[in-house]
Amino acid sequence: MPAVSKGDGMRGLAVFISDIRNCKSKEAEVKRINKELANIRSKFKGDKALDGYSKKKYVCKLLFIFLLGHDIDFGHMEAVNLLSSNKYTEKQIGYLFISVLVNSNSELIRLINNAIKNDLASRNPTFMNLALHCIANVGSREMAEAFASDIPRILVAGDTMDSVKQSAALCLLRLNRTSPDLVPMGEWTARVVHLLNDQHLGVVTAATSLITTLAQKSPDDFKTSVSLAVARLSRIVTSASIDLQDYTYYFVAAPWLSVKLLRLLQCYPPPEDASLRSRLTECLETILNKAQEPPKSKKVQHSNAKNAVLFEAIALIIHHDSEPNLLVRACNQLGQFLQHRETNLRYLALESMCTLASSEFSHEAVKTHIETVISALKTERDVSVRQRAVDLLYAMCDRSNSKQIVAEMLSYLETADYSIREEIVLKVAILAEKYAVDYTWYVDTILNLIRIAGDYVSEEVWYRVIQIVINRDDVQGYAAKTVFEALQAPACHENLVKVGGYILGEFGNLIAGDPRSSPLVQFNLLHSKFHLCSVPTRALLLSAYIKFINLFPEVKGTIQDVLRSDSQLRNADVELQQRAVEYLRLSCIASTDILATVLEEMPPFPERESSILAKLKKKKGSSKLPDMDDSRKNVNGNTEFVCKNNGVIYENQLLQIGLKSEYRQNLGRMYVFYGNKTSTQFQSFSTSVSTALQLNVQEKPVDPLIEAGAQVQQILNIECVSDFSDTPVLNIQFRYGGTLQNIAVKLPVMLNKFFQPTEMMSQDFFQRWKQLGAPQQEVQKIFKAKNQMDTDVTKAKLLGFGVALLDGVDPNPANFVGAGIIHTKTTQVGCLLRLEPNAQAQMYRLTLRTSKESVSQRLCELLSEQF
């Protein structure tokens, strides 16, 4: 192969690319590629050793073929060979190939790592950078293992070139993301923080990203970065636009660095030091002021960069949520953007206002923009912007404007894009429930939802309306009347038939006095929909019919005739057939008394968190829901019982176990209810509790026979000897139809059950907080919110957890502070806790301080699972 002449580049590659581009069809392209692959393969396998240039060229061709979307299964070895070339261009192509086509072939990784090691040690900055880029691009575990300890050294060494420092910082960041366990923290961390002071803004830019990532994981280790970041930010925002030379972007001083610094500050609460705090406030004010100045350029790049910094500053203001003045200014600024001609800004303003709406300082200010947001919903041409408007309306909704917002959302629903209908339905359903002052409005709203967007009304929504109607007797008559009227429509949605069937079956009697809705009229109305419905709805209607027989003896004959018809008794569907047969039989043989008992009105549903909320959280992947008849089945994980004492802890086909419990100091009493769900007796029923030494559980004997359908009660007396972390296990054994059944259930006896809440004043709290300052006494955990972050729910959970909530202790009103004493037989442990929600990041920080390390640990584990 001749030496490359100047200006020739990789001629073979250029020719090949041209060939590909000239191909008229996909087939021709594939043919040309296959030809080339065969050629390269033969060259690589050939006897003649290839020189570096040819290797580079062929590797580059392979890369190009890969980027066209074809699989490449050879050439890796040749690329690795290029890594150790002395020629920069060959090395560079080798690294590119490795970066793009990572292969976890362990043999190769060893060779690659070897080459990287050599380059890192070369002291040639260009080579070092190539090696660092490769590590950052691949970021595999093997590489982390090999280099995670070298890179910090390169990063903080005094003689490292600036460009190498930049690469090293981001390389370390990447490794920290992929294999955090392999990146050792050490004395280098303090020196990394110091990079925020570096002369070179490029180094500061790269270092800020690294520090932000590290600070998110261990905020305490990087606390000192706050003051440095504020100082740096302050210098940037007050600089004249030319001061920073090439780091000024379209007249905006270092926008990337500013955004990153503001991001870093969002890892921390507002600075406690007063002068630092006021300096930061000044910076934020300056940024807000700049937004009002006339633009220095008409270019969109100028306004984008300026607003990028502004939005990040607003994000920080919202994160701190402590300066009412700044929050309101931020809100006003966003209000201006709501009417901006740039779609991007309108979109971002809507998005950012959503988080502002949840701050108590700015909620009212956000609400003043309601008309603009409603008009955005109607006039925006881009569905993603309209979606943001829906989100904002949802966020700004409260009791004062709920009727207007729900009405607007309902009317938007009629024309909304199909892709967002389901979400809007859920939001309307949640708002209607949350802000219902009178439940007639709620019932109307849900029925409207079903009318307008029946197909998008998920099961949770109609389950919920039924739960609410059943639980609130003041709305039952109205609900019956309204569904009755809605069912009159010639075409109504099947979901309405379901709600109608259920509600009339329960409460049809409340409107039966009116001759226009006499029992027979009600029945005929329901039955006229029967044939148009799917099997599950028909099954539900059959249940409604048998309920009618109980409510209205006068229609018994008519209903029996329907049940007796061939289309029911011989229905091809087993479930329908069975219901028809059983209901018919029941109506014939049972006395009125028995009927009345069997078909008694449904008891109220236990109050629990709305299932629609959960649905909204994870709209995708809705699993099959239980049939309505057993929608109250509630098989719980134990975590659910950390903050509550009563409920169903286990249920299967045969057995249901419920419990009620009460605790006082270090003693507890638990009533366990075993319900036989079958029609057969349970024999040799026995239980035992296995528990750790720190707990004494004494069981009262339980009857060895449980009759079909019966429930028996057992009392457990519990004593907490010392703090513990393992929950006891209840073992149950019985015979059912000759087979022995073994069931083991974890009993929800956790350490926090032995809490006694303690009220205290702010200064006592802080005094004790300081006393418990030893490192092993404090346990802290930062975690992502699993549920919607709702203040009331959080309060209820903390109270359920057993502590007293102390108001006015934490300077930030969004935070929660609590205190209590854990009672055990041997000792009492005082506990203080602080929970800091960060609504914007959807994160919580939970800190527990107790006089005993194991107690802090355990309580933190238990409580952090709750949010």
Binding site: V4, L170, L257
Partner: protein
């Protein structure tokens, strides 16, 4: 349909994913972005990420960022990258990126690393690239025969700051 429509010119991933996943994501994203009309906003929610995109002549540039990331600054990351290409190639056109794809990658690596801006100064990035070029025996071959006009071609970068 023109088989070249929606063609990928460059891709860069900052999260480890299998080739199969990458292809699937790419296909889905290309469709989503091509379906957007002009004047629509440059951001959209996609899975649990945000897509920021901008069109320059026949090329679309896309970044996927995390929920917390700043959309506008990402838009300017795209613009700065285009400026860098422009400066390096001297009024860049799509053909430059096709024929010198490796250069486009090298410039990107100098500018962004691990999904974060490494060096935002245009001068410094180009200095690094030019220094490297000096080490080369040859200057990159620029194509002088850019007569073919191609429309609707899509270049697409995937800068995901997400770590799974």
């Amino acid at each position: 349909m023109d088989c070249r429509q929606g063609k990928l010119r460059l891709q860069k991933w900052y999260v480890p994913l299998s080739d199969k996943e990458k292809k699937k994501i790419t296909r889905e994203l290309v469709q989503t972005v091509l379906a957007r009309k002009p004047k629509m906003c440059s951001f959209l929610e996609w899975r649990d990420l945000k897509i920021v995109y901008k069109r320059y002549a026949s090329l679309y540039f896309c970044c996927a960022i995390e929920d917390q990331d700043n959309e506008l600054i990402t838009l300017e990351i795209i613009h700065r990258y285009v400026e860098l290409l422009d400066k390096y190639f001297g009024s860049v056109c799509e053909l430059d990126i096709i024929f010198n794809f490796e250069k486009a990658y090298f410039i990107l690596d100098e500018f962004l690393l691990g999904g974060e801006a490494q060096e935002t100064s245009k001068k410094n990035v180009l200095k690094a690239i030019e220094q490297a070029d000096l080490l080369q025996e040859v200057r990159p071959a620029l194509t002088g025969k850019a007569v073919i006009i191609i429309i609707n071609i899509l270049a697409y970068f995937h800068f995901i700051f997400l770590h799974k």
